[in-house]
Assembly symmetry: D2
Homo-oligomer: 332 residues x 4
């Protein structure tokens, strides 16, 4: 068994990691840290996990953390405090924060913070893009939730002529905003509402540009909060496309032929099909007047965070990437 | 008092017309038709209207309908059966169906149906665009819900250079689908979901093109259903825009300076601010890398249907356009 | 015109008062206080009210407040700081807090706070119970939201034999918890959830006992939060009832015969029928094995707070109680 | 491996059975029937199951059905057509319909239908009550969703003096109404609503009385639909209770000491803690003025249907009852 630890185990991403680890046939939970709940039983704080573990949250110093595998599920700028110690003391590390996803200089600009661990080598963990590199890496930066759904919806098209302008109009459940109550998570502010935010300048845009930009391609992104807890649906609009619908569909089928967690279908995908699961559903593929619409659906906390982290950890540990993740979502 | 009748009074649009008429200081409900509920008290079928009226639904023949003012709130292809009689027998008629919004030939193509009353003269009732023409018209075709929110979000920009490509990515509450249960209105299919549909070819696109197309301008439209009952939020993306944010804001402020029901603000608008009201809130106005984002929010059943119809009827009857509509929405 | 002021105008109850006052034919908004937003335009803070007023929030000292009519919409223990000044300087005062609803001694026990203005004479403003007393009062304590819906669902039965045990199992929208974000209003904690709280000892119970207790009658109350913003539906269970269903229905019809805002019907009422309106819908009236079920539906922010306060203010000012309130709710 | 079949595989209960079976370490899906979708790939009809199976729905005659284990997930009165054949040809059968839960005569009365297979011997599958009998049975009638949550919330109290009157006030997600769209599942009729129905006479009441009635004990039941897809929360009110809170808590802890899927805690349970899982959370345990409140939470489609059926099937097949069910729910 591989001993797995979670730094930051009581937030939404952390608790989702715990949910998956506790059900993983080859992982054993070694520790879950939480400053707020140190010493308290995990099942008391996260009652959905009662019976699955008797462990309590711990709060050791950074230097004491060790294990075969450690996940950091802490806010950006916090992960960089842990990572230098973890990569020393742990065989494999997956960071779920934003700290290492994009080059240091860009991170500092986009997140308006100084990086205390600049230039560290790491692999960007969009599994379907970098599987081979991930397999030989000991430190992976897990992608952001929006970039995961968005980039996967266009990756097969990037080599095609004319794919010069991509707009991602994304709709996310509110759980992406975390477990802490704020104005924007207040129920009456979400119910019967849909809220665009950072409509031209969301931080995840630079991550998207890193993955699918280049070649003078314009990449635009506007996220919206919908009255749902989980899920990200991204409507990708591409303009001046000269392919036809069948060609596009074939490109996607071929590209993702070996990717278990990517399900390509002609139908527009549904969040309910992926809820609680690591699957990415991609569909739509309609073209009219040169505009191509591709739609992707993920669970933001699974493929958009904890699930993809486990998928990467499996690969880093030479396990079948499906381990602990090979089950259907909750539908309805 | 102006005697007002509603053809098709038991659907969502019809009942919203009744709600407003029963509270209108100058309108008096003359009749509300319903084939399904003929003879039943309105308050028994629509319990929110109990106490506001003691009338019952009626079901006269088309020929018998008359009044100072009649609204048709029936499905497309049904309105054209009534309109020829109504325009004969009633002083003013507002049709809320799709039958007369676009030219006959285009209607037949887009809606796949033959028009039994082709070429009838009428004014397209986007109030803020056509107020003067509406004032002297006796027959108005009330706009679709999506085109209302979408077109108003870009009207002030149409004379500007470089506004050549507009994408409307709209999010609507499910009440737009009507009062009849279907697969797509089934609660578990809407909750925790967001559903793009007709992603390149929604029927309302031709109406949008009629209003804001032209000059080789590309107009695209993708609607989505969100887990809400009311409201349409449209995220309008314009590309290659050479204006700056202040110029855009000023264009909007100036254009809508005399339009009571259009509220222009820098903030991104919220559905809760317009819920149950006839207001259109427009905001956002961010530009980055040539892309301008403008967001509009309406209540699809009010400004998107019954409210705008009343606004038009007021104007057609030489009344203050605010009558019966001058109150705030429900927030939260 | 009657000049009306609101102390605490930016919370949910306060903003609902503003919504109604700004639409009231005989009231004119004199002031709305808000410490947090003093000096800011009301329409900037509460965008649904934009265009209805150009006033700004103010923050005068208690001593400066005066007007024909003042509403206090501040938390409990805060109202008692204002009321002694208001009753001096204002013709009519309606307090929407809990401070004066129940006798001082009981208030201190239930709310665990000392009362700084004990024993002040006031009328409990459950309109349908105390209309005559309200008409000659200058200071009214507006009822709690739960007691309003609960008590009205059993008032007609209190003189009947055998009505010795009443259980109110209530379901409320989350707006009752106020505009400030907390753990219990965090969207993911409300969505797909229903949360019983204070299951035997909610503070409103003592108010219910005051109104419908007595005669050794047992009164029980358990509130639940449902994933809705507005509305309270109360399922009232009465045991060992010897009446039959027709007798019960007749008792209710007779009792509320002159009460415009109480709509008695055999059907189980719906929240959508009262949403945004001052109506109370009461129905159900099923009896089996001695248990009677009566169900009431109100909008917690209207009949459960601001609407009933306006209704009371109308009566205190010798106006038709329907003024400013005589419109249908939003349905759907 | 045990070959498991599902009769009625495309409804909500059937698809939940498929979800669990496809993830079960000892079960192998032999067939899933569906008249509507016969011949179509399961993953095309239920896209959440894509990748988990390549099988298609089948539609054989009743006589042809055979397997080690068969579940019937068809409406009441339909199951009785299959069961006589299944019990002949299959080693173990679990019926998820209402047909065999209560005695034939009572079934005919409550469900208003003639029973074509009267008096058949079977075990009522409330696992925690009848585990031993289930272990030696080859035909089990799986309990209704409401009775499961309700009965488990009071079972430990039935031997106590004074427990003479129990009221179950239950709140259910709409998925209990099935996959077929109706008026009562129409999104605008559920959103911002809570709907009591069959307030004194729901069919599940007779099942509850069978399990927890007797000894002149009064058992009452009122169900409500809340705006959620999954979950049943039952608020159980017991009157004239002479125990204290600690005694009650201890009774529950002791009673369920060996029941893995029952989690007893002092806190009021949450639907999110059990969503998608087979756990029953029971808590509350407040007593005031003789009234005891106990609250239980289940996922209606798992412990309230498919999960408990699998739990029973495990036991009938001499497997650990946790197999295929030992994972946490989705929270948030």
């Amino acid at each position: 068994m591989i001993e797995a630890g979670v730094v930051g185990g009581s937030g939404y991403t952390g608790s989702e990691l715990l949910r998956i680890i506790l059900n993983h046939p080859e992982f054993e939970l070694k520790f879950a840290t939480s400053r707020s709940y140190s010493g308290e039983r995990i099942g008391d704080i996260l009652p959905s996990l009662e019976r699955l573990t008797d462990q309590s949250f711990v709060s050791p110093s950074k230097e004491q953390l060790e294990g075969d595998l450690v996940f950091t599920a802490v806010p950006h700028t916090k992960a960089m405090e842990y990572v230098p110690y973890l990569v020393e003391n742990c065989s494999t590390v997956v960071d779920l924060s934003a700290d290492y996803r994009i080059p240091t200089r860009e991170f500092e600009e986009v997140y308006g913070a100084q990086h205390s661990d600049p230039g560290r080598e790491c692999i960007y963990g969009l599994t379907e893009l970098n599987r081979e590199k991930i397999a030989v890496s000991s430190f992976v930066a897990n992608p952001g939730c929006f970039p995961t759904g968005a980039c996967l919806s266009v990756l097969p098209l990037l080599e095609e002529d004319g794919v010069n302008r991509i707009l991602f109009d994304s709709k996310t459940g509110i759980s992406g905003a975390g477990a802490k109550p704020t104005e924007s998570t207040h129920f009456p502010n979400v119910q019967e509402e849909v809220s665009p935010y950072n409509v031209t300048s969301h931080r995840h845009l630079s991550e998207m540009k890193m993955v699918v930009g280049g070649n003078n391609r314009d990449v635009y992104f506007t996220p919206h909060i919908i009255p749902s807890t989980r899920g990200i649906l991204t409507t990708s609009h591409l303009f001046d496309v000269s392919l036809d619908e069948d060609e596009v569909f074939k490109l996607f089928k071929d590209y993702y032929d070996d990717d278990y967690f990517v399900r390509v279908k002609k139908d527009v995908p549904k969040l309910s099909s992926v809820r609680g699961s690591n699957f990415v559903d991609i569909g739509g593929f309609e073209i009219k007047e040169g505009r191509l619409v591709v739609v992707s659906a993920i669970d933001n906390l699974v493929k958009g965070a904890a699930g993809q982290a486990i998928q990467n950890a499996n690969i880093m540990n030479n396990l079948d990437e499906k381990l602990g993740l090979d089950y259907a979502g909750l539908s309805p």
